[in-house]
């Protein structure tokens, strides 16, 4: 089994890159791979908790919590989140907070890296 690090830079709603990344993480974890997920750029707005699940919009909170339960490590870029008004107190529990070096360190230990650019 291998390790996959996904860097996600797209917003929760819009391009559906976010939906893609979560589904890919789920599929990789289901096959026994270790998955790391890094949020930067507009994805760093997505750890905000209390997202209302409306069918017209992509939804992140529920699948993200499930991925974390399954052992996927999720970390957000602290500065990117703070600039958007998301902080440790209003964010989804279990999401890690760190600087960009977290992503580089995870990449160091990864067999594969899928860096998904944003808007």
């Amino acid at each position: 089994m291998g390790t996959l690090s996904i860097g996600l830079f797209s917003a929760l709603v819009g391009s559906m890159n976010y939906d893609f990344a979560l589904k890919l993480a789920e599929a990789a974890a289901a096959k026994g791979h270790k998955v790391n997920l890094w949020f930067s750029s507009n994805a760093a707005g997505s750890p905000l908790k209390g997202q209302k699940h409306l069918k017209d919009y992509s939804h992140g909170e529920t699948p993200l919590r499930k991925l974390i339960e399954k052992g996927v490590e999720v970390c957000t870029c602290e500065a990117c989140s703070l600039a958007r008004g998301v902080n440790k107190t209003n964010s989804i529990e279990g999401v890690q907070w760190s600087a960009m070096h977290w992503y580089l360190a995870k990449i160091h230990g990864s067999d594969r890296v899928l860096h998904i650019g944003g808007e």
Binding site: S15, N17, F20, L24, H33, V113, H115, I116
Partner: protein
């Protein structure tokens, strides 16, 4: 170099692929990238399909858009998320999302 490329846009600059010309190239069409596999313009298939590469299209993203496997260009193989995981780990060493 064994390079797996995710193409998620229908209109985007893909010239970097020709410039890198890896020994082995796989193009995985996801998101609006699937239109390259299933839509013609003025009767012509997408130029992307002329690259020397293996082509895959994410079935889930085809169907989301009202397209399906019967619309696929014969050069393109339908894949699921689970298949994509295997492509990532077994077929390519480096990945690029363009």
């Amino acid at each position: 170099m064994k390079l797996g490329v995710f193409l998620s846009e229908y209109r985007t600059d893909t010239s970097i692929l020709q410039r890198l010309s890896p020994e082995k190239l796989g193009i995985i069409l996801v998101g609006n990238g699937v239109y390259h596999a299933a839509i013609k313009e003025k009767g012509q298939s997408s130029q992307i399909l002329n690259l020397k590469a293996d082509f895959y299209a994410l079935k889930e993203d085809l169907e989301t858009r009202g397209l399906n496997v019967s619309n696929l260009d014969s050069r393109v193989k339908p894949v699921t998320y689970a298949d994509v995981v295997d492509l990532i780990f077994n077929e390519y060493e480096k990945l690029m999302w363009i």
